[in-house]
């Protein structure tokens, strides 16, 4: 009997922990995508010119130079996309 109770407790504890974690994740909104995703129609600010880190050629050249001096490596910058998340 003692062995059965002990093995049940061994099974119960991780199960309860897992259930508790699930409940906490769902009930606190951690899984609510509405909280973390910017909707396609809300991306005006993200698509603004001022959000472009490479908008100033002089500043870009300077940071490129710092990167080159520090890392002894150059290139590999820039990715496609306009910021509106539509391509």
């Amino acid at each position: 009997m003692r062995t059965t109770a002990s093995s049940r407790s061994r099974f119960l504890r991780p199960t309860l922990l897992a259930v508790g974690a699930l409940v906490a994740a769902f009930s606190t909104g951690c899984t609510n995508t509405n909280l973390v995703r910017v909707k396609p129609w809300e991306r005006a600010t993200l698509a603004d010119y001022t959000m472009n880190t490479g908008r100033d050629p002089l500043a870009t050249a300077m940071s490129e130079h710092i990167f080159f001096s520090r890392e002894s490596a150059t290139g590999g910058r820039g990715v496609g996309g306009s910021g509106c998340g539509c391509n």
């Binding site: 699930l22 409940v23 909104g29 129609w41 005006a44 698509a47 306009s82 509106c84 539509c86």
Partner: protein, 171 residues
């Protein structure tokens, strides 16, 4: 509390939580919402076009969206070719700043109706997956085709083929 009760409570909580994150993204076969009740107005001041019993191409755009800008000349050609056969093309801006939408529309001067979803009520109801997205609506008001993004000639060709199909259909 027994384990079974605890699991039931947890399942109920999870189900409740899932219910709040469900998306109501409109898909093919759904009825497209009407413009006027959702606060969609014309940018030019003219009333929103009548869509009842018509084949309608609804394009959601924004002044800050580069592919939207690229799509306008193609949509203008589609409008020129298909409007005489009964197509209603309505381009709905979802801009938060009306002035930006007006400037964009004035600059490109499209021949089709440019509307504005002032409070973003329509776009929230439709839940557009990306910008731009266009919906081809048949004469019964049902969404028949959805185009996510604008992919140049590929989108243009597909739209034309689908429009031929829809315009050939009778109510």
């Amino acid at each position: 509390m027994s384990l079974r009760n605890l699991l039931h409570c947890a399942a109920a909580l999870v189900a409740l939580s899932c219910a709040t994150i469900s998306h109501a993204q409109l898909k093919v076969g759904d009825t497209f919402p009407a413009f006027t009740p959702n606060g969609v107005v014309s940018l030019s001041g003219a009333p929103a076009p009548a869509t009842a019993g018509q084949v309608v191409l609804v394009d959601f755009w924004a002044s800050w969206c580069a592919p939207c800008k690229a799509s306008f000349p193609a949509l203008a050609k589609i409008h020129t070719d298909f409007a005489p056969r009964g197509l209603v093309l309505a381009a709905v801006s979802i801009d938060e700043k009306p002035a930006a939408a007006v400037t964009f529309a004035k600059k490109l001067a499209p021949p089709f109706a440019t509307l504005h979803d002032r409070e973003q009520k329509l776009v929230k109801q439709v839940v557009v997956p990306t910008m731009p997205t266009s919906y081809l609506v048949d004469r019964s008001g049902k969404i028949r085709f959805i185009h996510e993004g604008f992919h140049g000639d590929a989108t243009d060709k597909l739209l034309r083929t689908q429009l031929e199909t829809l315009l050939a259909e009778k109510l």
